[in-house]
Symmetry: C2
Subunit: 309 residues, 2 copies
């Protein structure tokens, strides 16, 4: 099996394999021992499709509709009224407070075990509105190969995403080969209690940590406790973790940064600087050449985007 078969033999692929060769060549000046070979990946737009909205937003939407019959008051209460009417302007008008209420209504109030079952059932039945396939089939084949290639090369691979950690963990091991304890994301508060003789963790309607932008280096430090030597993202939400990985390293370790640039309107979606709900890539396009981050041109660098059904 050749290395990274779904990648064309362009500069992006060559940069990846050159870096991996450098850090894994024993006796070489840039050799990095396996326990320091930490690679971090954003999820939405980096490992799987995030358009037209991130997958978890589809989940929240479906969940809200499923719960709506038990909540007649939502028909007259914001932000629920606007959300159920697909009025995104109305939702946005309710601001962070409204978003938080939607999140609480759809993601809290159950045990962690119950939440996992809800997500599992949804993933097994829901399909992407445009691409017509289950979301878990919309992982990028070249990135799955990259994850596997890095692990074969002694890397430990982590996901560091703004997505909810308990949402991602339901599929990350099966789809990405990344076990739950290597998935980092946004968290809501939980508390422990005994329900009779059974201990449970209940998901509370309050944000614990929002894992985006400057929050990503914070969570990398908190969960991993070691600076990554390779970082893969696709948007300005990944900017600070790219900086944390690649800039001003006093430890002298070589480091690698890569941005997936969505240039393929035909096989997936094309977007970058324009304001989008998730995945805006503006500063990153300017900074990539400056900081030596590799820009992947999906259209030209990838032979395949999604695996065949």
């Amino acid at each position: 099996m050749p290395t990274l078969p779904s990648w064309n033999d362009t500069a992006a692929k060559q940069a990846i394999t050159a870096f991996v060769t450098r850090v894994t060549t024993e006796g070489g000046a840039d050799y990095v021992p396996p326990n320091e070979r930490i690679a971090v990946f954003d999820n939405d737009g980096t490992l799987w499709c995030e358009m037209p909205v991130p997958v978890q937003a589809f989940f929240a939407d479906d969940r809200l509709r499923a719960l709506a019959p038990q909540h007649p008051e939502w028909l007259t209460t914001e932000p629920f009224r606007s959300k159920l009417a697909n009025d995104m302007k109305g939702v946005m008008a309710s601001g962070m407070k409204g978003i938080t209420e939607l999140m609480a209504a759809t993601h809290a109030g159950m045990t962690t075990v119950e939440f996992i079952e809800i997500v599992r059932h949804w993933l097994a039945t829901a399909k992407h509105p445009k691409l017509g396939r289950p979301y878990t089939e919309l992982a990028y084949q070249p990135m799955l190969e990259l994850l596997a290639y890095l692990r074969t090369s002694g890397f430990t691979t982590f996901i560091v995403s703004v997505g909810g950690v308990e949402f991602m963990r339901v599929f990350a091991e099966e789809v990405y080969g990344v076990p739950p304890h290597q998935v980092i994301g946004s968290t809501i508060k939980t508390h422990f209690e005994m329900q009779g003789d059974t201990p449970v963790l209940v998901r509370d309607p309050a944000l614990d940590f929002f894992d985006d932008k400057a929050g990503k280096p914070v969570s990398i430090n908190k969960y991993i406790g070691r600076r990554p030597i390779a970082c893969f993202g696709n948007s300005d939400g990944d900017r600070e973790m790219l900086m944390w990985t690649t800039l001003g390293r006093a430890d002298g370790r070589p480091a690698f940064g890569l941005i997936v640039h969505h240039t393929d309107a035909e096989r997936e979606f094309a977007y970058d600087r324009q304001h989008v709900l998730s995945g805006q890539l503006d500063k990153g396009l300017d900074e990539a050449p400056l900081y030596g981050w590799v820009l992947v041109d999906m259209k030209n660098d990838w032979k395949t985007v999604f695996a065949e059904p």
Copy 2:
């Protein structure tokens, strides 16, 4: 090499090896696949000595004295005045607010990289006041063997401690063989900033999460995302994580709980129900037989406590 050579062949050792055999025997009714073989260990009093006070309290004390010359105001300000005068009653009188101020003064205000260097230097030079050895030599030899035995049996081993995560990570990989991303503990807040061209994380004087008692199942869920099948503790601070591991499992997985009971005043320290600064074991002594948790009698179950210098 025999299994667990520093353990006497008593009921405790037999219970450990019987459990590991059960969950690793392919085709057996209680077989657990490797990715679910999660074992969690408390640190202070479970993996290393916590008497007369936890090691990190010695660190905080030394650090306070090192900084005192730059803070003449501490001589007249509580809780600093009491702490520098070794007046624990005075410190306690300042309550949680005082403890937090001491923690902030000794553990915050520097970058994460600087903090690691401070801890590393301290560990290399400080010695236990009674036992006269570097703290990192005061890991329990039988527990080091147990960590290694579980890993050899396909377990992933985690530390889940009230101790500061960035304090423990300095030595956990070398001493316990537990990499930084498998060390979970209390955290203080940090923030990301650019200092010129260099990205840093600064440790802020504010608690992020206190990882004790009912906080332990919460952090296990947040960091590991999977229920452990084996849990090792020594005090009532570990009670909820023992419950979370062993009680009322809907997944039907077998589970194992163990409490290290400090019964050896000669080779280490003897303490349990009495009020102590760290490591009180009161409820756990009553609940162990009720819930099937194995009680390790250090004096009779361990051949050796500490490795020879």
